[in-house]
Every structure is written in C-alpha cells, then in structure tokens.
C-alpha cells in the first residue's frame, strides 16, 4: 500500500477509534451491573475522606479489590470477600489500585476501631512496627476523622456490621473499667477493677479460660516470645509492658498493663491465646492469627508472664523460666518435657523405629511391627 499523508492520518485514527468502540464503547453500553448485596452510597463525611485518600495517593500502595486467589490479602480472614462488579456501583473514579505494597483495603472497615486508625495515621509504626507507610500526622484532626470515616466505610454494608460490633464492644469494655486503669485516659496503672477482669473472662469460652500453655516456658521459648513482643507489641503495650507505647495516647481503653503479677494471675494462658488469635473487638487489639503461628503465640504468652518479674529489663541470658508468674489462673505448665535436658538433646528415651533389613511389611501387617527402642550412647 502507498503510505500517503491521508492514508497514514486517516488509518491511524480509524484503527484506534474502531478498537476504542469495540472495547470501551461496547463494554460500557452493555455492562451495567446491579448493586451488590453490600453496596451502599457514601455519606458526605466518607466522601470527604475519599477525597483525602485520593489526594494523598493512598491508591499507589493499597488495592481495593480482592482476587479469587487472595484469601489473605486484607489481613483479616473474617473480612474476606472477593470483589463483585456491583460493589462499585455508587463510586465515581475507581480506586482499585495496581500495587499492593500495603494490605488490600476493600474490606478494611470495622477490622480495627477508630482510635487504632488515629494512632496508625499519626505514625503507622505506632501500631504496626514493620509498616513502611508514610506518616499522616500533617492531616488536621478533622481531616483524619473524615479519612477514618472513609476507611471504616470500605466493605460497605459488611463493614457497617463490623463497625457496629466495635462500637458496642468498646462501650461495654470501657464501662467495665469503672473509671480505673485505661479509662478516661489513665495510663501506666495496673490497678484494674475486678469488674473489668471478670468481664474479660466472659469474652472467651470457659474451656479457653481453663486452658494452660501448651508450650513449656523454656529459655528458648521466652527469648522467642520476647523477640515477637519487641517486634509487634511495643507500639501499644510499650517497652516496659505498662501499656504506654506511643500509640497508647490515642487509644481508649488503654493497652493492657502486664506489670502487675496479681492482675496477670486473673488471666489464664488460654484467655491470652484467644485474645491474640481473634483480637479483642472494641479495643485496638487486632487479631494476630494471620501473622503468628501457634508456637509464636504460646511463646509470646510465656514471655508475657515474665514481665512482672523483669522479663523486659533483664539481659537476654538471664531470662529464665523461674521468672514466669504462677498462681491463680496462671497455672503451672502442663506435663513438661524439658527441651534443655541432656537426655532430649542426645535422643535418649525416645522411641525411633529402626529400619529393618529384609522386605518391607505387606498389607495391614505393617502395623504389627514392633518399634525398636534405640538407645545410642552419648558421644563425648
């Protein structure tokens, strides 16, 4: 073909316009989804927060759609919901995002209470020490309030349900404090009302209240627990364990103070486990089940028991199981086997089936094979 001026110009325009009609035109004319069961319009305050979200480029690190394979993108299993076209029906300007440097926010509403968000926006490291999110301390109090309103709306009707739970639970917990520790801005005080400690017990099933730590508080366990505490918990509970981390200023009720042994005796390990695994709705305590393994959680609980006896202040090599608070619900550890014992280290007293020469057992006869007690001599 001859590439004349007219041919190039008209051709270039026609080809692109044709494809535009084929893709954008046809899809917009034919694809008009209905509102999903969760969709709702934003309130004026939420919409104002959305403008702040747009203007500050939140969209560059946070997505707002969950793909079918993303079962843990939002960092909150109860908040999982794969995006539907009808979820976006009321929104002008899509903020779907293309980068997920931070968590997906499409179901963020109600996962945390408002005060957690205020601490987090002031400096994300206060609540999430590993975060690389910028500080939003430059936003005014009102702007932050609007932004929080928008973030709490993400997830729409499902988020509203979660946000309501946060609000009602907060009211109950703060009431149980009866003006003592953690209420009305009182921090650093381990003088909890009995009503509060009793109320916390009612939040977990009684079988959990009676559960003891499944992991013995060996030095290894305590050191690991300390490491987890330092990297995850200090933002709220503080380097002293008094509940006076930098985020505490923003939180109501205040983070729990671990320094009083008699208060700790009113919590069982199972109760702590429940709060770590599922979080404590109404407070800033998030669910750690997605981030920590079972052993991580038991180790950090073992470590918490040493805080009244100086677990956070002694050098690491002096941290030992004698510092663990005992008594009350802080019961002795169950049937220990001592990982530091010499016998364990050299494999004594453990039954290892020794592979036998000859043909492998056939059929169900395999089960009848007797394990052979193996007692190797410690090599020195």
């Amino acid at each position: 073909m001859k590439m004349t001026f007219g041919a190039v110009l008209a051709g270039a325009i026609l080809v692109v316009i044709t494809v535009v009609f084929m893709t954008l035109g046809v899809s917009t004319l034919t694809f008009q989804p209905l509102p999903s069961d969760s969709a709702r319009p934003l309130t004026a305050e939420e919409e104002a927060g959305r403008q702040i979200y747009m203007g500050n480029g939140c969209v560059y690190c946070h997505t707002q759609y969950v793909r079918p394979q993303d079962w843990n993108a939002a960092g909150g299993a109860p908040a999982l919901r794969v995006a539907q076209a009808g979820d976006y029906i009321f929104q002008k300007t899509m903020l779907l995002g293309t980068e997920r440097t931070g968590p997906d926010l499409s179901q963020e509403g109600g996962v945390h209470p408002d005060d957690w968000h205020r601490a987090h926006f002031t400096n994300p490291r206060y609540t999430s020490p590993n975060s690389i999110m910028p500080q939003f301390s430059f936003l005014s109090y009102d702007e932050t309030t609007k932004l929080i309103a928008y973030v709490q709306s993400l997830g729409q009707k499902s988020a509203d349900a979660r946000t309501n739970v946060q609000k009602t639970e907060k009211t109950k917990i703060v009431a149980s404090l009866q003006g003592k520790s953690g209420a009305n801005g009182v921090a650093n005080d381990a003088n909890y009302s009995q009503a509060h400690l009793d109320y916390l017990k009612t939040l977990v099933p009684s079988s959990w209240v009676n559960t003891k730590s499944a992991v013995p508080p060996t030095q290894r366990s305590l050191l690991h627990g300390k490491q987890i505490y330092i990297t995850n918990c200090v933002g709220c509970h503080g380097y002293t364990g008094q509940g006076d981390g930098p985020a505490a200023t923003y939180l109501e009720p205040k983070p729990f103070n671990f320094t009083n042994a008699s208060v700790q005796m009113q919590h069982s390990e199972g109760q702590y486990y429940h709060f770590l695994l599922f979080g404590l709705p109404g407070t800033a305590m998030p669910a750690w089940g997605d981030y920590l393994t079972v052993q991580d959680i038991w180790d950090v609980i073992n470590f918490l028991r040493t805080i009244p006896n100086g677990g956070l202040t002694v050098p690491d090599d002096q941290l030992n199981s004698n510092m663990v608070v005992r008594g009350g619900l802080a019961g002795p550890e169950p049937a220990p086997f001592d990982q530091n014992a010499e016998g364990f280290q050299y494999g004594q007293n453990l039954n290892y089936p020794t592979p036998t020469a000859g043909p492998p057992p056939t059929g169900s006869g395999g089960a009848s094979q007797q394990p052979v007690v193996n007692t190797p001599t410690p090599s020195k």
């Binding site: 110009l9 954008l24 919409e47 009321f90 002008k92 903020l95 293309t98 500080q135 997605d290």
Partner: protein
C-alpha cells in the same frame, strides 16, 4: 565568506536557526529529567525509611510518586520526543517547521502545565488515576497544548517538499494524533462533574465514570499513553537515528509497514491486561491478552528491521555515543516486549500482579528503553544543530553507564522482590508480613535510583556546558562527523 566562517557563525545566528524550537524543547526536557528523578529519589528513600521527611505534607510519598511519574513521562520523555520531532520532521520533509513561533509558545505553555502539575499534586489535588493524576482544569490545558503541537507538526508534514513519507514520519503523525485522542478518552474529559447535584460527591475535578467500567477507561489510557505515545514516539526516533548515523537504508519497507499498522491495532486493545482479575467483562480480558501477545508482531518486525539495518555497522557503537544509547535501548525494548505479553497471560499474571515486578517492568520500558533513546537523540541533535561538539564525551560516557547500571539495579531488585511477594501471597502470607521482605530490595532500588539521578544531572551539566562553551565545529569534516553521531 569562507566555509569555516559560515559554519562558526555568530551566536545570534545560531540561536535563530531553524532548529531553535527543537532545542528549546530539549533543554526543558533535560531540566525536567533532573527534577523528576530527584523526586523519585526522595520517594525511593521514603520507602526504605518511611519517617524520612515524615510529616511534611507536600513531600509525602503518595504525593511525590505522581509528581515523579508525571515529570519523567510528560515533561522529560514527551518534551524530549517532541523536541526530536521538531528536528526530524523538517529534516525528512525538506522544509522548516510550519510555525517556529507556535512551537516555542507550546513549549512555554507545556512548561507552565508542568509547574502547575507539581504544585497541584504537592498540594494534594489529584485524580488518583495512574498516569492521569493531573486534575481536570489541567487536563484542558494539556489538551490545548497537545492539539497546538499536533497541528504544527501535521501542517509541516502536509506542506512538505519531500513527497515520500519516511517511516519515522508515519510514527510521528500517529503519535501526535493518538496522544490527544487517548488523553481525552482516558481522562473521560467530558465528565468532570457528578450528574446528580444532590449526591454528596465533592469530586469536582476528576474526569471519570461511575461504576467499575471506569477502571476499563482508566487502563485504556494507562497503557496507551505508553503504547501509542512513548513507544511510537521512541520508535520514530530510532528509525531516524540508526539509518542516518550508519548511513544505511532501513532494511525492509514492508516490515516497517507491518510494524506500524500492527502496533496501532494491537496496542489499543491491551489496556484491560492491567486489571485482569477485576469483575469486568471477560471478553475485554480476552481481547487484552490476545492483543498483548499480538504485540510480538510490531516489536519483532521493528527490532529485526533495526538490527538488520545494523549489519556490518555494529562497530559504530564504539565511535558514536548516540548510536550506543539507541542500540542499548533496543535491547531493553526487546526485554520489555518479551516480559509484557507474558505478564498479560492469566497464569503468570496471577503471580506478578500487584507486586513490584510491575514497577520494575515500567522502569524497563520508560527508563531502560525510552529514556536511553531520548538521550541518544539529544546527544545527536544538540551537536548537529548547535554546530558545537559535546563539551565532554567522557562525562557523557559516565552518564551512559550511570543511567544503564542504575536502571539495571532498579529493575532487577524490583522484579526479584516482585516474585518474592507474589509467591508469598499465593502461599497465603498476609501482605503486612511480606512488607518486611521489601526493605533490602528497596534499599538497592534507592541506590540504583541515585545513580540515575547522577546521570540526569551530568546530562544537564554537560549539555549546559556544550551550549555555553562546547568546542565549535569549524570544518566541513567535523560537521560531517557530527552528522553521523561522531
């Protein structure tokens, strides 16, 4: 008057020659590269050390990032490309630019848009659409300048003396027409306001649609700004520079033609591959994936054409700095366009979507490929039109290695960490846990980025010194040498 006197000329004569507009655009672009990469370095450091400059609203990461992206795309690459067009088009049409004055006015208008872009984004006014962050009033301003430019270039070509249209001219014609088209459509420029005034939507300055279809429009734009502007503009440069510097005709006219028509067809189809997992119509995703694979055709025809033109000329890259920039750019273009189609295939997209792999890929295209092409064009056009040799070829060499190795550090660190992120998410790790894996790679990225910044400042210094005190080209031989990129 001897030939020597004529060539050395007076300063006044040099500044009023027919390529003044071309150089004006190029000078601006060089400053914008230094500005844009400096913002990038701040952003890169903030990703390693988030409390660096923390609490300063206008230097917050989410505001700096779009300033970086817009500076380097619209105001470095676009201005460098347009500057090169204002040199290439007169050369290939045998006549001066239709209106030199209009070209200079557009240059100033474009710079004003750039300054307004920085100010508005730093103040927190953004459309929050990637590559289209400039708010609606600026969009209108942008459209005016784009149309002025397109008109100027098209009029020059229409009133040409050389009847035959060379392949670079096709690409330039396409690019200057497609950019305003894509910009207006992708910014949904006719819909800045909300239809229902009772709705509590204060978003008065963002052209967009309501509902999920808006994402389709957004990414039609997001990809075609690359595909139908930066790529095609860059290809026009390469199609001009390589044959001119090597004094070899383009290998195949047929391949040029296949490349041109297939790029305009396939590139406009692929926007949806940025949002393959969204609840949008499936046929759009199919078209996008097929179009992305179809892009092998224009890419491979173009590269074959250029590399075959280089037959017997490869030794020239040691002697010609522009050629070195351009050909290294073609190698990165090859890698870009191998990665691209694979990324658009669902199975691979599952792994790398949302991760930093994509950021690495974007830098591969815009920094590794288009930026080196534009730098090659600048190091060709400035000496030839100014009749001065480059002030320091040694500095230019350092610039080359700084940009190329800095870019490689950026790309490799980001793509490695992208694979790590993708693998961990598929395994079910929450995002907050994978954030800590990013940090060492982001540190490498910041180091690579600082090398690119150094390269950008070296370029600005070297070109400035060339303009002020580069050795004058005095003999016919030196002029001929400059015209083959020596």
């Amino acid at each position: 008057m001897t030939a020597t006197q004529e060539l050395s000329g007076s300063r006044a004569a040099t500044s009023t020659d027919e390529y003044g507009a071309s150089r004006a655009w190029i000078y601006s672009s060089i400053i914008w590269l230094a500005v844009g990469t400096s913002f990038a370095l701040i952003a890169a450091i903030e990703m390693v050390s988030p409390d660096f400059l923390g609490g300063i609203s206008y230097l917050e990461f989410g505001r700096i990032r779009p300033i970086h992206v817009n500076s380097v795309t619209f105001f470095w690459l676009s201005m460098a490309n347009i500057g090169a067009f204002y040199y290439i088009v007169p050369k290939l049409t045998g006549r001066p630019i239709w209106s030199e004055q209009l070209a200079k006015v557009s240059m100033w208008l474009w710079n004003i848009v750039g300054i307004l872009m920085v100010l508005t984004l730093a103040a927190g006014f953004s459309q929050a659409r990637e590559y289209a962050e400039m708010i609606w009033p600026l969009d209108i301003f942008v459209m005016i300048v784009l149309l002025l430019n397109a008109f100027n270039i098209l009029m020059t070509i229409y009133k040409r003396r050389e009847k035959k249209l060379y392949v670079s001219i096709w690409y330039i014609m396409g690019s200057v027409v497609w950019l305003p088209l894509v910009y207006a459509i992708g910014n949904v420029i006719w819909s800045p306001f909300v239809g229902n005034p009772d709705e509590p939507n204060q978003n008065l300055f963002s052209g967009s649609l309501t509902g999920i279809n808006d994402a389709t429009w957004n990414w039609f734009y997001g990809h075609n700004i690359l595909g139908l502007w930066f790529t095609t503009g860059g290809v026009a440069l390469v199609y001009y520079l390589v044959p001119v510097i090597t004094k070899t005709p383009v290998y195949s006219h047929l391949m040029s033609m296949i490349g041109f028509w297939s790029i305009s067809l396939f590139y406009s189809m692929v926007g949806q591959h940025h949002i393959l997992a969204t609840p949008t119509p499936g046929y759009l995703k199919l078209i996008a994936t097929l179009g992305s694979i179809g892009l092998f055709i224009p890419v491979l025809t173009f590269l074959t054409n250029i590399w075959m033109t280089m037959r017997g000329n490869w030794g020239r890259i040691y002697a010609s700095l522009p050629l070195k920039f351009v050909l290294v750019g073609t190698v990165f273009y090859f890698i870009t366009c191998i990665q691209g189609p694979f990324q658009a295939v669902q199975s691979f997209n599952r792994l790398i979507h949302f991760t930093n792999w994509i950021v690495g890929h974007a830098h591969l295209a815009l920094l590794g490929t288009m930026t080196t092409w534009a730098m090659g064009a600048i190091y060709y056009i400035i000496p030839v039109t100014l009749k001065r040799r480059i002030y320091s070829p040694g500095l230019a060499e350092i610039q080359f290695w700084m940009v190329v190795s800095g870019f490689l550090l950026i790309m490799i660190s980001l793509q490695v960490v992208g694979l790590i992120q993708g693998a961990e998410w598929l395994r079910g790790e929450p995002v907050y846990k994978t954030v800590q894996d990013l940090k060492p790679y982001f540190a490498v990225r910041a180091i690579g980025g600082s090398m690119v910044v150094v390269g950008a400042y070296i370029q600005a210094y070297n070109i400035y010194k060339t303009v002020r005190s580069g050795p004058r080209i005095q003999t016919q031989m030196e002029q001929s040498l400059a015209e083959v990129g020596g």
